[in-house]
């Protein structure tokens, strides 16, 4: 069983997927709390009201002070966030971004794929890109198209014992999962 942070060396484009209620955002927050250091620059594209939820947490999460939340209303503004000015960029989430932009169904797919391609380029330049996605029955949303844009893919699965995190790409590995 490994800690994901040890596997994320250098730049990375990570997908964290799971069903509603599996704690994907809690998992990403836990990851960010380990990754985000003093002086690093993290931006969170919040299309899923996570800003709202984070502010409801009665527990003090000091790392949140180092994260800026934003919700670009134009596609170009979202793309700009991956231009290399930040150390970490989080997209929350792929379905929300998909539903928000694009006039036609085909265009919606294209816009998300373009953003993920920029995420991959951002990773190649040393940045950390995390995208939250929906998954059900072992497949994440848009897997056929989007999976190739990630260097690492993690899925959260719920069973009778609770929620387990599993690395499914580049290799399969059970991960340590800490809730807070």
């Amino acid at each position: 069983m490994s800690d994901l942070v040890d596997l994320l060396r250098g730049g990375f484009a990570l997908e964290v997927s799971g069903r509603t209620g599996t704690g994907r955002r809690v998992y990403v927050f836990s990851l960010l709390s380990k990754l985000v250091k003093e002086g690093s620059n993290t931006v969170y594209m919040d299309y899923a009201s996570t800003f709202w939820r984070a502010s409801k947490l009665s527990r003090k999460e000091s790392f949140l002070d180092k994260v800026v939340f934003t919700m670009p209303t134009a596609v170009d503004d979202a793309f700009q966030l991956l231009a290399g000015k930040h150390d970490f960029v989080v997209l929350d989430s792929i379905p929300r971004f998909f539903m928000r932009f694009g006039k036609t169904y085909r265009e919606k797919w294209g816009i998300v794929a373009s953003l993920l391609a920029l995420g991959l380029r951002f990773a190649r330049e040393g940045g950390g890109f995390i995208a939250i996605n929906y998954a059900s029955r072992g497949r994440s949303f848009g897997e056929n198209i989007f999976a190739s844009y990630f260097t690492h893919r993690v899925t959260l699965e719920e069973d009778s014992e609770g929620v387990r995190a599993k690395l499914i790409y580049p290799f399969e590995e059970e991960l340590t999962y800490v809730r807070f």
Binding site: A48, S55, L57, L64, T70, K103, Y105, S136
Partner: protein, 345 residues
Amino acid sequence: MPKKEKVKVEEEEKTFEEEIDADKLAEEILEEEPLEPSEEEVPEGEIRLEDLDGVGRITAQKLRAAGFYSVRDLAFASAHELAVVLGSEERAIAIIRAAQKLVNRGEEFITARALFEKRKNLEYISTGVRSLDDLLEGGVEVGSITELIGEFGAGKTQICHQLAVMVQLPKERGGLNARALYIDTEGTFRPERIIQIARAKQLDPEKTLENIIYARAYSVEDVFRVLERAKLEAVKRDIGLIILDEATRLFRTEFLRTGERILAYSRLLSFLEEFSRSSISVVYTRQVVYSDGIIPASAVVFDGFAHLSLFLSKKGDVWQSRALSSPWSRRTAYYRISEEGVVDV
């Protein structure tokens, strides 16, 4: 905007107007019911659309006709949606940015801690059930979007009925002293039930019914027409809560092609978001489907959309709500449904 440029924009608008068949346009306008709020209906202190750089009188009229009534509506509009009205995506982005500057006063980014400070004076609609209020840390927050997911008989509609009454209570009793707008897509709304709940809450049943604006939607287009109309009603009639019971069934039956369904859903979600941004609480219900276990209907579309997702179910004589997507994941509230409404166990 410099005066010369503003004059140029207005001239361009005039040229555009001349290209339209004026008689046809006049006929169309006369046929339509007036949706646009008159000057005196714009709340005091609110910035008018015309006050924005790049928005002249004609553009403002076009924007209002398309459902953008306030600077706030523009600040959160999507560029492509606005481009359809304005004819150019560049112009749409410029107007959105101008509106955002006014709405946020230049604060594009704030930290979660700053937001935490801002949120200390928020108001809530009590559900009337202590355990549910505890689960929601006070009740349904003003301006939040809450979804109730569950099978038939899980109590979704019952909670909707109760909230439609609770919002009318004075603030000291957990309400907002406001009205509710109830959009019913399944024909399950029962005024008789409202009367029972109102009596249990010591409210005048007649007045309580008067304060619920009800609309039955038989088709997706009906839903959109009602929501469009609701934007104006919300201002005129002091609506504090909008209930959509149920959100997916019509879409799933009317749109068999995924692409068309997704586009229709996008439109629905942008409506609901708009209400939420105008400090109106939104509550909608969602059926479940059976596929490798119970899954909320249209899961990808709605995943992460609501601020709060509650999964409702029934075990024997006790009903329960589990917070699915919230800061307090995995917490559960237990309650009963009786003649007095939804009550603590």
